[in-house]
């Protein structure tokens, strides 16, 4: 199979307006990847799937990555060919930012294998895939608000009272149950920290 650089050149010749660059993997695995601009991504995916020299008919792995340092979210697709038994070709798509412009084109119309995996990326990273047939949360429940796989995710304060808090648990208990306003009661110990304060 052609190298990642050759593949990029061939794709640039086929899709003249597209922005395609090679992301070099410095590690020993040397699995380099192609970073695509989102708008022509689905056309490129169809080309990769149907091109007779590539025939990347099998999308093995779809996953999200959070890059707070780059200020973007990323989706990575690992493509293989079952017909020609080669691969992987790795595609990466990046969102504009991590807050409001988090939309990327869904590749589920090209490879059905993306269906649940893109739902998972939507659920855990908050990337919105356009034209996904059934974009709902998959692992977290529907009412859940946040995206737990993001690097800056803070778990909710779901502290539950326990009779003998100690160490880190005690610290968390003090934060959770503010000190009692009654003068003379300095220590909001387990006896005064009623579980009834939690709704």
């Amino acid at each position: 199979m052609e190298t990642t650089d050759q593949l990029r050149d061939r794709l640039l010749a086929r899709f003249p307006g597209a922005e395609i660059s090679v992301v070099t993997n410095p590690g020993p695995a040397a699995q380099h990847s192609l970073l695509l601009s989102p708008s022509p991504a689905r056309d490129i995916a169809v080309f990769l799937r149907d091109d007779p020299a590539l025939r990347l008919d099998y999308c093995s792995n779809v996953t999200g990555i959070d890059w707070p340092t780059l200020g973007c979210l990323e989706v990575v697709y690992h493509l293989y060919s079952m017909a020609l038994k080669h691969g992987p070709v790795i595609l990466r798509l990046r969102t504009t930012n991590r807050t409001d412009a988090v939309t990327l084109p869904s590749l589920t119309p090209v490879w059905r294998a993306c269906e649940f995996q893109e739902r998972e990326v939507f659920d855990l990273y908050g990337i919105v895939f356009t034209e996904h047939p059934d974009l709902r949360r998959i692992l977290m429940w529907d009412e859940f608000k946040d995206h737990p796989m993001r690097k800056d995710y803070v778990e909710p304060d779901d502290y539950e009272w326990e009779p003998t808090p100690h160490g880190g648990v005690l610290e968390k208990a003090k934060r959770h149950y503010p000190a009692a306003p009654v003068a003379g009661v300095a220590d909001p110990g387990p006896a005064s920290a009623s579980p009834a304060t939690k709704p």
């Binding site: 590690g27 020993p28 695995a29 699995q31 099998y58 999308c59 792995n61 059905r112 692992l139 796989m149």
Partner: protein, 386 residues
């Protein structure tokens, strides 16, 4: 059970309609249904007995395994991988070790590679035996086949226990080798089990394979077409039952599989019966592989002497490593930023992705068929929900 248009008056009596086929019934199968193999739920819409819509619901066993992996060291995730597909901890360990070794450029000694193949093929025997038992249980052959299967499974688990200290949570592979070496006594016991396994399969097949009821229940049920299987990323025995020749032991030839002579069984129809038969045939090939491995197992170290257990920090980079697990392609995608923890730790779960086509397979069939179709897909919820 939620019934649309169903009116109950105190007792659960259904009103008799003139247009008897007018109502669709929504049934929530699971998460506590015994046929769902754990906490899996299917939202099924029924027209009479026939399934017209089926939506799988996941997440009841979700513990964000991937976040745990990012918050612990590379080696610290090894015991967690046992808990993904808890029937096949040995292959999960291998897939993870393989991905990390790719990431770090870590070689593995020859004896360790052979041990990995032995344990992986024993795991395949174990998984497929369990599946054959569960599938028969799901199709209504209550008890007996499952107990036959579990009797054999327990013998393999005894071997795992004596080698790793634990029946199911083996935590056995390390980056650059294995944790403990197999003693000559262990190898003799494993060889004895392998030699006797063919007789067990003969016995089991005499009971089951030609059984008229099993054939009637499974043949032509849940037919999967090869094109859809490839597009939907189906892997493992379920893919090969449709006739697609794609076995990573041949394609990637990871470990030393290229040294072994074995065949890849392929199905013809892609129905539930083929999915059952593929597993039986794969078990026979696994026995072949095991016998070659016992014959050729070299002496030598089981850990690369330069491998680092403590303070393991792969260089910046990324790697995707995959192996042919008993349920399909299990892969790990890792990104290292040079710290002791992976920046990104991703599991490619074969069970979850094989469920993509569940609705396609079940449409037009009855609820009882959905149960055996799900059974033939072979899922473990520890891996589906992660």
């Amino acid at each position: 059970m939620i019934a649309s248009g169903l009116q109950t008056t105190g007792a659960h009596v259904r009103e008799v309609h003139d247009d008897f086929h007018g109502d669709l019934l929504e049934v929530s199968m699971g998460p506590h249904h015994p046929s769902t193999h754990g906490v899996f739920r299917m939202q099924v819409t029924l027209d009479g007995e026939t399934i017209v819509k089926l939506k799988p619901v996941f997440g009841y066993l979700h513990r964000n395994h991937e976040k745990l992996g990012e918050n612990t060291s590379y080696l610290g995730s090894m015991p967690y991988t046992d808990r993904l597909d808890y029937l096949n901890s040995m292959t999960n360990n291998w897939a993870y070790a393989l991905a990390v070794e790719k990431l770090a450029g870590q070689p593995v000694p020859e004896r360790a590679e052979y041990l990995r193949i032995i344990l992986a093929e024993l795991t395949r025997l174990l998984n497929h035996t369990c599946l054959a038992g569960f599938l028969l249980q799901d199709s209504g052959a209550s008890g007996t086949p499952l107990m036959y299967a579990f009797r054999e499974r327990e013998k393999i688990l005894d071997l795992f226990e004596s080698l790793s200290g634990s029946r199911m949570m083996c935590n056995f592979q390390r980056f650059g080798g294995c944790r403990t070496d197999a003693s000559p006594e262990w190898l003799a016991a494993a060889k004895k089990l392998t030699d006797g396994y063919g007789a067990f399969l003969d016995e089991y097949e005499r009971l089951i394979t030609g059984n008229e009821i099993l054939m009637a229940r499974t043949q032509g049920v849940g037919v999967l077409k090869p094109d859809l299987a490839i597009s939907a990323g189906i892997t493992g025995p379920m893919l090969r039952a449709t006739g697609v020749d794609y076995d990573l032991r041949k394609v990637d030839a990871y470990g030393f599989y290229s040294r072994f002579a074995f065949r890849v069984p392929l199905g013809d129809h892609g129905d539930t019966y083929d999915r059952y038969m593929i597993r039986v045939l794969e078990m026979r090939e696994s026995i072949e592989i095991l016998q070659q491995a016992f014959r050729d197992l070299p002496a030598g170290p089981i850990m690369d002497p330069k491998a680092k257990l403590r303070g393991f920090r792969p260089k910046t980079g990324e790697a995707y490593g995959r192996i042919e697990g008993p349920k399909g392609e299990i892969g790990f995608y890792l990104i290292s930023d040079g710290t002791p923890n992976p920046y990104r730790y991703r599991v490619r779960p074969p069970s979850l992705i094989n469920l993509t086509v569940l609705e396609d397979l079940c449409l037009g069939h009855t609820v009882a068929d959905a149960v055996i179709i799900l059974g033939s897909i072979d899922i473990v919820l520890g891996e589906v929900d992660r």
